[in-house]
Assembly symmetry: C2
Homo-oligomer: 199 residues x 2
């Protein structure tokens, strides 16, 4: 049966979604090294050639799958700004804790991390399309707090972002301890107060 | 020619060293996914069976290679303690900066990181044999500073370790910026002072 032109894009979009979903699921099930275009195609119910028409590699498919995931979650591109920096950061960190404890998210992000470590070109694309944007969003919130006098004037905001958001990611990556709201709160308090005794 | 019993261990040790060196070199050259026992054996000039007699997998070989590397470097198991916390941490962080900028170290550590992400059993062994020990060494130095009154009494030392040492590792892992002594100093100052305006 011939397709109308109106049907074709819908069908493409359905295949595209099926491929992205299959890539995420399989990455979680078998890990990045064992992930294959063949298996993604079989799970998505499409031919290998359909995948190769849109993506050059399994890494590229997985990348788009994770990108789609984060775009759904955070249609917003700013962090909450109620004027209370500590409360706002706590909200964001607790959401991150929930995300990292979700098994599907955990496994597909681990697969993506492997892909980024193995493919420098993909890693550069990831930084441009997602990581740098997320960093700037966090930095904007700290800058607003700095202007309001809640963050010291001489604080380097890039370092501050790393200090607040890095430890949770490190603990997740190295599985060195449980990812809990309590740990997030401890990190936040330590970052805000610093290590030195306060006068 | 028959070997004496005294010769055998020496020859074993020489093969073992050749295998570890070959594993590190190849991991740096081709990455973890493409690393193979065959290639390690060929480079080391031993048979595949020699490797399989001592290690169950390529991940295990690479793990021992990196472990040997870190044991050579840090025969010491404490951080410098001159009584000046900031100066001592700066010394250690600058050494880390040099290490992370060494191409051989960079590539083999990236390969190991992939292996740890893909193999949870290996990751657990790595934590037991290396990561936890290094964490405790850093924590000991901060505890000594806390006792000396240079770190506030209520600071959580596990969080403090993450705050000081995590950001360099994150930047290295994600290639989000240059790994420089200046960046290390900024991290250190920010961690010690905290974000809040000081009295």
């Amino acid at each position: 049966m011939p397709q109308t032109t109106a049907e074709r894009p819908r069908r493409n979009e359905k295949s595209r979604q099926a491929i992205l979903t299959a890539a995420l699921q399989l990455a979680g099930e078998v890990g990045y090294t064992k992930l294959s275009i063949e298996a993604i195609a079989a799970r998505a119910g499409v031919g290998k050639q359909t995948i190769y028409r849109w993506w050059p590699s399994k890494a590229a498919v997985l990348f788009d799958a994770v990108l789609a995931l984060s775009t759904n979650d955070a249609g917003e591109t700013t962090l909450p700004d109620t004027g209370d920096l500590e409360a706002d950061l706590r909200t964001v960190l607790h959401a991150t804790v929930r995300e990292l404890n979700d098994p599907g998210y955990d496994r597909s992000m681990r697969s993506l991390t492997v892909a980024l470590l193995e493919d420098e070109g993909l890693a550069a694309e990831y930084r441009r399309n997602l990581a740098q944007r997320m960093h700037e969003v966090k930095k904007d919130r700290l800058r607003s707090a700095q202007l309001a006098g809640h963050v010291a004037e001489d604080v380097d905001l890039d370092a501050a972002v790393e200090m607040i958001f890095g430890p949770l990611m490190n603990r997740w990556l190295t599985r060195s301890g449980p990812i809990t709201p309590e740990y997030a709160d401890t990190i936040l308090t330590t970052a805000l107060n610093g290590l030195r005794p306060r006068g």
